[in-house]
């Protein structure tokens, strides 16, 4: 893969991201409602002059194009603005929230892969067996279940019913948090050798990542199964077997590696979906991540936060697509970029 390709792909992201910010900016401002009115709530004692004063202090009295250019200029200078709702720099808010969302997303991804790949492989090599039938049924159910429903049911079973796992938060408040290095609690507590925190973080992570990862696992499992079925029919697999290689080696090294290409695409594209799904799962599990921040910011017309987070989402999406392309070349040398 050439550096030129990479450079071109990077350049392509600029108009994409610009376009997205423009759409989001217009949508936010076209939506009826007003941040100051929302902020002041139903307090009926506020005079029109005070409302105007607050609007002025927040720069909301400026014409829209000026506000947009100001926002873009800020981004270029590395200044993401100040949240209207919290009054703190957007950058700090995002820096505070992003690790939580990232940890949940990665955990959900891990959960889905741990379920999907072995299940997909087994279903493919034992085609039409009971294992295949059951996993097909389970994955069908998994794809059809909305994640918020699954989240609530998991809470009802494991938290309310059995009392095994907590129904929310990242760490609980009985445990001392490890010092922040990466912001990912699993990593930070490992680094600090704080086993208590590690255990607590894992327990808190399990249900939300299952709720978020399970629907994706179902999808990934189906893709893995069908592409495995394609691959095992290929001549080189027959050849590998004829060479007398162990079946496990044939399946894992020769078949799975090639079968993973479509799976990787699906996973990469679903990183975006996972980030979106976070918004609901984070709310249900009181997970202090980016998803909750975005939802609350939309609700309270906190323009700078919405714009910055959407841009971040867009960049992630673009980056994940790029990453998928890069991983292809590793897995299949024939793919030239």
């Amino acid at each position: 893969m050439s550096k030129k390709f990479l450079f071109h792909r990077m350049l392509q992201t600029i108009p994409v991201v610009l376009g997205i910010t423009l759409v989001v900016f217009s949508l936010m401002h076209l939506t009826p409602g007003d941040p100051v009115e929302t902020m002041l709530g139903s307090v009926g004692h506020i005079s029109q002059e005070d409302i105007e004063l607050i609007r002025q202090e927040l720069g909301l009295d400026q014409p829209l194009w000026k506000q947009y250019l100001g926002f873009l200029g800020g981004i270029v200078r590395g200044d993401w603005g100040v949240s209207l709702r919290y009054g703190v720099p957007v950058k700090d808010l995002i820096r505070e929230r992003l690790p939580a969302t990232l940890e949940l997303t990665l955990a959900a991804m891990a959960v889905s892969l741990l379920i999907a790949i072995p299940a997909g492989v087994v279903a493919a090599i034992r085609r039409y067996s009971i294992v295949d039938q059951v996993s097909t049924l389970v994955s069908l159910i998994g794809v059809s279940l909305p994640d918020f429903w699954l989240g609530l049911v998991l809470i009802l079973i494991f938290s309310v019913g059995l009392g095994w796992l907590p129904g929310g938060l990242r760490l609980g408040f009985e445990v001392t948090a490890p010092p922040t290095v990466t912001g990912l609690l699993l990593v930070d507590s490992l680094l600090a050798r704080n086993w208590e925190a590690l255990w607590a973080a894992m327990k808190h992570l399990l249900l939300p990542s299952l709720a978020l990862g399970a629907p994706l696992a179902a999808l990934t499992m189906r893709i893995t199964r069908s592409s495995m079925l394609d691959v095992v029919k290929q001549d080189y697999i027959t050849f590998a077997r004829a060479k007398g290689l162990k079946e496990a080696v044939v399946i894992i090294k020769h078949a799975l590696r090639n079968a993973l290409i479509p799976t990787i695409t699906v996973i990469a594209l679903n990183m975006g979906t996972l980030l979106g799904g976070n918004m609901i799962i984070e709310r249900i599990f009181s997970w202090p991540g980016l998803g909750q921040l975005v939802v609350d910011s939309i609700r309270t017309y906190d323009y700078p936060v919405v714009q910055a987070s959407v841009m971040l989402y867009a960049l992630t999406y673009v980056a994940m697509n790029l990453a998928a392309d890069l991983v292809y070349t590793r897995l299949d040398p024939r793919v030239k970029l």
């Binding site: 139903s42 709702r85 009054g87 808010l93 009392g163 929310g168 938060l169």
Partner: protein
């Protein structure tokens, strides 16, 4: 050896945690700020009030009692004298003085006092111009014009140390029964017991407010015992929670009144018989039972039964569709009419019940909804240059009367200055006598007199029927039985000084 010591310390710490009494409260929304001068948000107030105190405060019974002030007296109509409680310390150890109180008041009313921003709570200070410390424990507050309501508004504000300067507060230091511990946005806000509290120190060691925005998840956390108190229990969960052996459902009459405002300047609602017919055509008890499962209290007018000057002599309209049809026929609408009912999404279900009930008497309702009140206002703005008589037909609405004093509901709703797109008189009601009575109430600091003025005003307005009068909803909490001595407050504050945990 080192490992052994660590283990012992760990065990001690753990057992300490087990013995420490932590009360966990499941809240529906996060704080918006840690600065007590920068919000108008009930949840933020409920949490910050654990750390900060006011000069005076409201009890759950809605009485105003002194807190950091010993007395607040008017020495002139535009000058109040505040005597500050001596011997109180902020959580950083510095003593509370008149300087801090004057600083806190000036911070609320001065433009750009919080790192360039102006307090959102300035409106709650009325015509307050500023405050000065006259001696160590005496503050003088100057008003631009007489405002007898000053002592009723002071309980809403919190006192901060003057060391805050012109900065924005991100680490709260107050005088309250609890000391701020940490705030993780959208996760939790926690405070610990202040052993040096000037009053009786609280009985729980630690309080954690957990943010659980999703109501089902909040109820689940209550069921599993992860939270001890959960706020805003949805009505459909009540009966199953009531059957739980360790959970009590408690409720309190809220401060929010519900009603439908009819534009009295525009046909058909300019005819009082039509407005009466509307009141007779709607079966309010059914609405209360269907939407609120009985957790609402019907009212004859718009004041809550616990409000100051509540008029219990006003008659309630009974459900009588026959009478409604007769009144409509008398008013010249024997076949009914059609009108547009504006509202916000949150009231959609209620609007649809209206639609069905009014159809019974031949009235056709077209519902128009917007996501927020701000959106409704924006839609109406396009009509702002037209006279009130050509604007909206009717608005299904509610109004929070947090002070439970009629002035901040009767004035915005019925004073003629607030018609049109002002802050609240959406029925366009105007009556010179009502205006006079309401204005007189603002200038009086005599409770007897205010009571009479408000009662007279209510009688005149009620007789004109500018609204379909509805109810006050209850606020519902779920409480684990290990929580002792807690009861909800109508203003959504959470009073925790007396609360104990059984085990």
């Amino acid at each position: 050896m080192k490992k052994g010591i660590t283990a012992v310390v760990l065990v001690l710490l753990l057992s300490g945690l087990v013995c420490a009494k932590t009360l966990v409260i499941g809240f529906d929304d996060d704080l918006v700020t840690l600065d007590p001068a920068d919000f108008s948000h009930r949840q933020t107030e409920a949490m910050l009030r654990q750390v900060y105190e006011g000069l005076s405060t409201y009890t759950p019974d809605r009485e105003i009692v002194p807190e950091l002030a010993l007395s607040i007296t008017a020495i002139e109509p535009t000058l109040y004298e505040i005597k500050v409680r001596p011997g109180v310390k902020f959580h950083d150890g510095s003593p509370l003085t008149a300087e801090d109180v004057a600083f806190s008041i000036n911070r609320l009313v001065k433009e750009g006092a919080m790192a360039g921003r102006t307090s959102q709570r300035r409106g709650l200070m009325g015509p307050t111009k500023g405050a000065v410390a006259v001696d160590e424990y005496t503050v003088h507050v100057e008003l631009a014009n007489p405002w007898p309501l000053f002592p009723r508004f002071i309980p809403w504000q919190m006192i901060v140390p003057k060391s805050v300067g012109d900065s924005y507060i991100d680490k709260p230091v107050g005088t309250g029964p609890f000391v701020f511990e940490e705030w993780v946005r959208d996760s939790h806000f926690s405070v610990v017991r202040n052993p040096e509290y000037w009053g009786d120190p609280p009985k729980v060691d630690r309080v954690v407010f957990r943010v659980i925005g999703d109501e089902s998840a909040r109820v689940s956390a209550l069921r599993s015992g992860e939270v001890d108190i959960a706020t805003f229990i949805p009505v459909h969960e009540i009966s199953s929670l009531e059957n739980h052996p360790e959970i009590d459902v408690v409720s309190v009459l809220g401060t929010r009144s519900y009603f439908l405002e009819m534009n009295v300047n525009k046909p058909p609602f300019n005819d009082i018989r039509v407005r009466q017919a509307m009141n007779h055509a709607v079966d309010m008890d059914t609405i209360i039972n269907v939407i609120y499962e009985g957790r609402a209290t019907r009212i004859p007018f718009i004041l809550s039964p616990q409000a100051f000057a509540y008029h219990d002599g006003l008659p309630m309209f009974d459900y009588d569709p026959e009478k409604a049809r007769r009144l409509l026929a008398e008013a010249g609408y024997p076949n009914g009419f059609s009108f547009e009912l504006d509202t916000v999404d949150a009231h959609r279900a209620r609007a649809e019940i209206y639609q069905a009930m009014l159809a019974e008497v031949g009235i056709d309702v077209k519902i128009r909804t917007w996501p927020t009140w701000g959106a409704v206002r924006e839609a109406w703005m396009q009509m702002k240059d037209k006279p009130v008589a050509e604007q909206r037909d009717a608005f299904l609405n509610d109004w929070g009367n947090a002070s439970l004093d009629p002035f901040d509901i009767l004035i915005p709703k019925f004073h003629s200055d607030h018609r049109g797109l002002g802050r609240g008189n959406f029925s366009g009601f105007a009556d010179p006598e009502v205006d006079r009575l309401l204005e007189a109430s603002l200038e009086s600091d005599n409770n007897e007199e205010r009571l009479m003025l408000f009662r007279q005003a209510q009688e005149i307005i009620h007789a004109q029927v500018p609204m379909v009068f509805e109810f006050v909803a209850h606020e519902i909490y779920g409480v684990r039985s290990r929580v002792k001595n807690w009861r909800p407050s109508p203003d959504s504050r959470i009073h925790l000084k007396e609360v104990e945990l059984a085990h």
